[in-house]
C-alpha cells in the first residue's frame, strides 16, 4: 500500500474550505456587492456567530463529534431573554443578568443531554440532533403553554392575545446591540463592535487555557480512546457529560450575544436553524468531526457567511431568481454537513485499513531477518 500523495491528501483534508474559497471567488464578484458592504456584513456576522460556534469545540475534543445538542443551550438563552424582556432589564446589565440566569438552566439541559448521549455512544451526533428536535417540543411546552400560566409573565406586549404563551416574535429593544455598541470603532468604513470581539477573544483564551488543564487533558484522552481512559482510571462518562455541559452553557451565552445583535427573537424558530448554521460554518472552516480548532471557527464564519451574503444576489444576477439563492443557502448548509460527515466517515475507514496494512508491512520487515517474506511482496 503506497502512502497517499501528500498534495492529494491535503486536497481531501481541506476539500470543503477549498470549495468555499472557490465559491466565494466566483459568487462575490457576480453579486455586484461592494467590498465595503461585504466587509461590514461579514464583520457583523463574525461578531454575531463566533461565540456560538466556539461553543462546539470542547465536545469535539472529548470525541463526541459535532454537538447538535447545542440547540439546548440556545433554548436556555432564549428562555432567559424572554424573562429579561418581561422584567424589563435593559442594556449591559440585562445581558449580564441573562447570562447569569441562563447558566443554571443550561447546566441542567446540558447534564440531561450529556446523560442521554452517554447512553448512545457511537451515535452521539444523530442522537444529539434528535434530542434537539425533542427538546424543541419541550421548549414549546414551556414557552407556548407554560409562560403566562405557570411562569408569571406580566408584560402584555410579549404575550399572545389569548393571555398566555409568548408571541412569535419578540422585540429585544432593551438589549439590542448594547454589547456591540458599547465600544464601537470605525475602521476604514467597517463598523467594528470591539466589545463583542473582546468577549469572543476572552472565550478563545478560555478554550486555550482549558486545553491545558487536567480536565482538558482528560477530555482529549477520552476523545482518543474511551477504553484506555477507563483503564487508567478516568471517569469517562462524567468527563463526557462535563464537556457537553460546558458546551451547552457556552451556547446559551452565544445565543444571547447572537440575539442582542439581531434585536428580535423569533420565539419558535431562532434556535431551530442555529445548530445547522454553526456546525456548517465550523466544517467549512476545515474542521472535522474529530478535530476542530479556533482558526477553523473564524475561517469558517468568514467563508460561510460571505457565501451566505452573496448567494441570493449572485442567484438573482445569474438566473434572475432571488429565491434560488435562498434555496441555495439552505442547500449548502445541509450539503456541507452531509459532505463533511460522509467524507470523514469514509476517510476513517480508509485510514484504518491503511494503518493495518502499514503495521503488517512493518511487522514483516521486522521479521525479514528471521526468514519471513521480503518487502517486495509486502509492497504490492
Amino acid at each position: 500500500m503506497k502512502a497517499m500523495n501528500p498534495v492529494l491528501k491535503a486536497l481531501i483534508d481541506y476539500a470543503v474550505p477549498i470549495m468555499f474559497i472557490l465559491l466565494v471567488a466566483v459568487a462575490a464578484p457576480l453579486s455586484g456587492l461592494s467590498v465595503e458592504f461585504l466587509a461590514n456584513e461579514v464583520m457583523m456576522r463574525l461578531a454575531r456567530n463566533s461565540f456560538l460556534i466556539l461553543s462546539l469545540l470542547i465536545p469535539v475534543m472529548a470525541g463526541m463529534g459535532m454537538n447538535f445538542g447545542m440547540v439546548l443551550g440556545a433554548m436556555a438563552g432564549e428562555i432567559v431573554l424572554i424573562l429579561i424582556t418581561d422584567w424589563r432589564i435593559v442594556g449591559i446589565p440585562g445581558i449580564l443578568l441573562a447570562m447569569l440566569i441562563s447558566t443554571p438552566i443550561a447546566i441542567v439541559f446540558g447534564y440531561f443531554a450529556g446523560v442521554v448521549l452517554n447512553k448512545a455512544k457511537g451515535r452521539e451526533m444523530v442522537t444529539g440532533l434528535m434530542l434537539g428536535f425533542f427538546m424543541n417540543g419541550v421548549y414549546q411546552l414551556i414557552v407556548l403553554y407554560g409562560m403566562g400560566k405557570v411562569i408569571p409573565i406580566t408584560n402584555k406586549e410579549i404575550l399572545l392575545t389569548r393571555g398566555y404563551g409568548i408571541r412569535n416574535a419578540i422585540n429585544l429593544e432593551g438589549i439590542r446591540q448594547s454589547l456591540d455598541n458599547l465600544i464601537k470603532l470605525n475602521l476604514f468604513g467597517v463598523q467594528v463592535p470591539v466589545a463583542t470581539l473582546l468577549v469572543i477573544a476572552a472565550l478563545c483564551l478560555f478554550i486555550i487555557w482549558f486545553r491545558r488543564t487536567k480536565l482538558g487533558q482528560d477530555m482529549r484522552t477520552v476523545g482518543q480512546d474511551m477504553d484506555i481512559a477507563r483503564t487508567v482510571g478516568i471517569d469517562v462518562d462524567r468527563t463526557r457529560v462535563v464537556s457537553i455541559v460546558i458546551s451547552t452553557v457556552l451556547a446559551s451565552y452565544g445565543m444571547i450575544i447572537f440575539l442582542q445583535n439581531m434585536g428580535t427573537l423569533n420565539t419558535y424558530n431562532s434556535h431551530e436553524q442555529i445548530g445547522f448554521f454553526c456546525i456548517a460554518a465550523l466544517l467549512v472552516g476545515g474542521a472535522s468531526v474529530a478535530k476542530a480548532s479556533i482558526p477553523n471557527v473564524f475561517l469558517g464564519v468568514i467563508l460561510f457567511h460571505t457565501v451566505f451574503v452573496v448567494s441570493p444576489r449572485a442567484g438573482a444576477q445569474l438566473i434572475g431568481e432571488a429565491q434560488l439563492g435562498e434555496y441555495f443557502r439552505v442547500f449548502i448548509t445541509y450539503g456541507v454537513i452531509a459532505f463533511s460527515l460522509a467524507l470523514y466517515a469514509w476517510r476513517r475507514k480508509v485510514e484504518r485499513e491503511n494503518e493495518r496494512k502499514k503495521q503488517m508491512m512493518l511487522h514483516r520487515a521486522a521479521l525479514q531477518g528471521k526468514g519471513g517474506a521480503g518487502f517486495a511482496q509486502a509492497d504490492r
Binding site: V116, K119, A120, G122, R123, M125, V126, T127, L129, M130, L131, F133, F134, N136, G137, V138, Q140, L141, L144, Y145, R162, I319, E321, Q323, L324, Y327, F328, V330, F331, T333, Y334, G335, I337, A338, L341, A342, A345, W346, K349
Partner: protein, 348 residues
C-alpha cells in the same frame, strides 16, 4: 403475579404500553368532551392508510443493519418527481397513478443505488450521514423545482413566474384512486379506504415474501451479523445496497399513496422532515434500530396516527388550547431519542 405483570410489560414494551393506554384513555374520554368516536376511528383508519407504506419502507434497511432510514426523503423525492411528471403528461386516473409510480420507481432505483453506495462507505455512521443527505437532497430539489422545465398550468405559479407551486392538487388526476376502490361505508361517519388498505397489504406481503427468499434470508443475516454473513460467502455490501434500493422504492411508492389520499403534492420543504414521523411510528410499533417485524409497522402506524388524530380533538376540548403539534413533536422525537439510547447488540 407481580413477575407475570412485569413479563407482560417488558413483552409489550413500556413506551408502547404507555402510548397505548394513553390512546385508549383518549378514546374513552372523547364522548364526554363532545368528540365523536366514530369520526375519530374513521380518521385513524384514513391516516393509517395514508402513511403506512412510508412506515413500511423503513423495514428493508433496518433488516440489513443500515439502521433507521433517516434519508427517507430520497425516496420521497423520487415519488415527487414521478407524481409531478405524471401530471405534466396529463395522465388521468389509473394511468396517471401507474405512470407516477413507474417513473418514481425508476428514479428511486437510481437514487437508492447511489445512496446505498454512499452508506456502504460510511458504515457505522449511516444514520447521521443519511439525515443530512436527506436534508441536502430536499434543499437541492427546492432549486430544481424552480428550474426544471415543467409547463403544466395546473402546477406552475399562476402569476407568470417560472417554477412549480408549493402545493399541487391532484384532484383532477388521481385523487383517492386507491381510497375509493371498493370503499366501504359504515354508517354516515366511517369510510373504509379498502383499496389503500389492500395496496398496503400487498406491499407488506411482498416484503414478507422477500424475507423468505434466499436473498431476503441473506439480508437478514447481514443485518444481524455481518461477519457471519461474510463467512458464508455473502457479498455484504451488495446486499446492503439492495436493501437501500428497496427502502427507497417503497418510500417513493409510499409518498404517492400519501398524495392520492391527501389530494396534494407538497414540494419544496414539504418532505424535509418526513423521515421523522415514519421512524417514530415504526419505533412506537416495537422496532429497534436493528430489529423489525411487519407487525411493528402496523401497530406503530395505528398507534402513532391514533395519537395524532386524537390529541388535537380531545386534548384541545379539555384544556381549550391546541397542544397537538407540541405533543406530536415530543412523542415522535422522544421516541426516536429513546430508541437511539437503547443498547445495541455488540457487533462481532
Amino acid at each position: 403475579m407481580k413477575e407475570k405483570l412485569q413479563a407482560v410489560i417488558s413483552g409489550i414494551g413500556l413506551p408502547r404500553l404507555l402510548i397505548g393506554l394513553f390512546l385508549v384513555s383518549l378514546f374513552v374520554i372523547a364522548p364526554f368532551v363532545g368528540v365523536r368516536v366514530d369520526t375519530s376511528i374513521n380518521d385513524v383508519i384514513a391516516r393509517f392508510a395514508m402513511n403506512a407504506v412510508l412506515v413500511l419502507s423503513l423495514v428493508p434497511m433496518i433488516k440489513s443493519g443500515c439502521g433507521l432510514n433517516f434519508g427517507l426523503q430520497l425516496g420521497v423525492i423520487a415519488g415527487l418527481i414521478g407524481a409531478v411528471t405524471s401530471l405534466e403528461l396529463k395522465l388521468i386516473g389509473l394511468a396517471g397513478f401507474l405512470a407516477a409510480m413507474g417513473i418514481a420507481i425508476f428514479f428511486a432505483v437510481i437514487f437508492g443505488w447511489l445512496y446505498g453506495i454512499l452508506l456502504n462507505k460510511v458504515k457505522g455512521d449511516e444514520m447521521v450521514v443519511a439525515t443530512y443527505v436527506g436534508f441536502s437532497v430536499v434543499s437541492l430539489m427546492c432549486i430544481m423545482w424552480l428550474v426544471l422545465p415543467y409547463k403544466s398550468p395546473d402546477m406552475i405559479w399562476a402569476y407568470g413566474g417560472s417554477g412549480l407551486r408549493t402545493t399541487i392538487s391532484v384532484e383532477d388526476y388521481w385523487f383517492h384512486i386507491l381510497n375509493d376502490f371498493l370503499k366501504i361505508e359504515l354508517g354516515s361517519h366511517i369510510e373504509i379506504p379498502t383499496g389503500a388498505l389492500l395496496f398496503f397489504a400487498l406491499l407488506a406481503f411482498i416484503i414478507w415474501a422477500f424475507f423468505r427468499t434466499k436473498l431476503g434470508t441473506a439480508m437478514e443475516a447481514v443485518g444481524s451479523n455481518p461477519e457471519y454473513a461474510r463467512s458464508c460467502g455473502i457479498n455484504v455490501d451488495r446486499v446492503r445496497i439492495v436493501s437501500v434500493i428497496m427502502s427507497t422504492v417503497y418510500a417513493a411508492i409510499g409518498i404517492i399513496v400519501y398524495q392520492q389520499s391527501f389530494g396534494f403534492i407538497q414540494l419544496y420543504n414539504g418532505p424535509l422532515l418526513m423521515s421523522f414521523p415514519a421512524i417514530a411510528a415504526i419505533l412506537l410499533g416495537g422496532a429497534s434500530v436493528n430489529k423489525v417485524k411487519i407487525w411493528n409497522v402496523v401497530v406503530g402506524a395505528v398507534l402513532f396516527q391514533g395519537i395524532l388524530t386524537m390529541t388535537p380533538s380531545v386534548i384541545n376540548n379539555i384544556i381549550q388550547s391546541d397542544m397537538s403539534e407540541t405533543i406530536r413533536i415530543i412523542v415522535s422525537n422522544g421516541m426516536i431519542v429513546y430508541a437511539l439510547t437503547r443498547k445495541m447488540k455488540v457487533r462481532a
